[in-house]
Symmetry: C2
Subunit: 344 residues, 2 copies
């Protein structure tokens, strides 16, 4: 690989001049410019990214950090990443996807700071260490999802209105006449599951009702497939308590598991069991039979907004903290209906 010195030597100028030819920071005479460009082309010279970043104190790279435990992308993450990539694409930034295994991280012990100008953190947990880490080294950060308590108001983030959304959904099911609703929630400890759980409960209270205890189940944090969790937990819960007439699932994949459980128990959807999902997949959901009623989260917009927020933060020195709520919409298809009347 040719260096700037090679080019300088080949064209008979100093390396400072070569640098200026490329960056156009200072005017260089036409004649010299051409000579340098010719030499650079002949040598297949490209400036070294690291050396440049070192002195510029900036890579044009953004980081996307997904918690180490789950490196498997689902539809939501994919869609979100599409949004991130689109904005990166427009602004000439690259994206560094950062999913180092905890095993590897602990092995290396003294890991270097990430080579990014800023970072997007996904799926914040209550007591998430990642945020404190970034604060110490002064790395600009935007979070997708509500940050844990101590950091609210201290860091910019993008989120759906999870409390309101969960309340709306629960109210919808309550209005249909359901009284015993199983909620297969996101993993305990994540802020999103806390918010949705709160919204679920709030809707009951507001209707003058009380949610049955033991009806909120959390997906385990470890990589158990959503599909399996939906299937197994729905099967167990429905078999144990036939009063359950509706299920709210965290994802469409999980809902697919619920469909399977219903089929096995001989429960028809939606006549005997209503199923709802916090789904983001507009391709998949309509193809369920019956088509899955859910909510559109606009994951791509979450990603795009987060990226914009981050870029904005990079541009200005001031550390303004912003919060963006991306609206979500109930999409009613065919998987929810009033509960069957109880016959003797």
């Amino acid at each position: 690989m040719a260096t700037i010195d090679d080019v300088a030597k080949a064209s008979g100028v100093s390396k400072g001049t070569v640098s200026n030819v490329f960056s156009r920071k200072r005017p260089i005479s036409k004649e010299v410019t051409e000579r340098v460009l010719a030499a650079a082309k002949a040598l297949h010279y490209k400036p070294n990214y690291w050396a440049r970043s070192l002195v510029n104190r900036s890579t044009r790279i953004l980081g996307l950090n997904i918690r180490g435990e789950s490196f498997q992308f689902g539809q939501f993450h994919l869609s979100l990443m599409n949004g991130v990539l689109r904005v990166c694409y427009e602004h000439g930034y690259r994206l560094l996807v950062n999913t180092l295994s905890p095993a590897y991280l602990s092995r290396v012990e003294h890991i270097a700071s990430d080579p990014v100008d800023g970072e997007i953190l996904l799926d914040p947990l209550e007591g998430d260490e990642r945020i404190a880490d970034r604060f110490h080294i002064g790395l600009p950060v935007v979070i997708v999802g509500r940050p844990p308590g101590p950091y609210e108001g201290k860091v910019s983030y993008v989120d759906n209105d999870n409390i309101g959304m969960a309340a709306q959904v629960t109210r919808y099911l309550l209005d249909l006449g359901h009284r015993d609703i199983l909620f297969l929630n996101a993993p305990a400890g994540s802020t999103v599951s806390a918010d949705r759980g709160a919204g679920y409960a709030a809707a009951f209270w507001q209707a003058g009702l009380e949610p049955k205890s033991g009806r909120m189940l959390y997906k385990p944090l470890q990589d158990s497939p959503s599909h399996a969790f939906g299937y197994e937990s729905a099967l167990a819960a429905l078999a144990a308590s036939p009063d359950v007439t509706a299920v709210i699932a965290d994802t469409d994949t999980m809902a697919l598991g619920v469909y399977k459980a219903a089929e096995q128990l001989g429960l028809r959807i939606p006549e005997q069991l209503s199923v709802f999902a916090f789904s983001d997949d507009s391709v998949l959901s309509p193809e369920f039979s019956p088509p899955l009623t859910g909510v559109r989260l606009h994951a791509d917009r979450l990603g795009a907004e987060a990226t914009r927020l981050l870029l904005e933060q990079l541009g200005t020195a001031e550390k303004s903290v912003k919060r963006v709520l991306v609206p979500s919409e109930l999409v009613i298809r065919g998987s929810c209906a009033p509960p069957a009347p109880i016959y003797p």
Copy 2:
């Protein structure tokens, strides 16, 4: 951000010693080690990634390069990326997703070399400039898909057996009795569309038949949604020539468009029209009605194998060229059947 000099000063040693404490390349006395570590922790010191990379001539970063025109990921790319990420994850590498817009690239003009140790190139085109670029600067490269002619045997790649696969599929449809098969192929100029087109034709010849001319359509390179292309081209073709009894679509999304066109024309699938897709989505396809017959491409395995090949190449100095073929399987569901007998 604290530097190594700060730590050195704070603990009263030279920076070389600090470096050695972290890298363990040379033994440092226990006493000094502790003093340095304490100072580092107090200052929240983390080694600077760029400076380290500069002298090491290695980042532990792999690049994933998707052609600039299409930055929108589909199911195939997602799945593939999952495979790449998984292997990266295991080996302590990060992934740099590289989708800079051509507009931006041309604006910057003299772009620096990518800050990666090696790169995975997706969707090679006939006459793809990216490969030559990487060769000139000596960057290790693995391609997913068959590289264009001049580079066969010069660069490692991972691919499905697209020729064989397309031939197998076409034979399957011929055996069912179809004679006029519309092929909605990948964009012209991509090596994958060439291979599949060749397989399609080969199956006809081998059966002593001849493919009808004008029955192979290529998706435009620009970002026209697959869904729309499937819908529009199928609608036009089926309306113009009622002899067509089967359609091979490039992706499941495209097949969805074909389904829509069939519905609009009042054609029942599979009785009046057979539909097939080179699909990789094991979640989506079974949910079509009728479930979509297709082929499992194992995109994740393509990604994982490509990554392994690349890492292997990085480890050893020798430039061995390897080719890995990932098997694909016909998955017969419910969208293909013998053509309807022709009644007067």
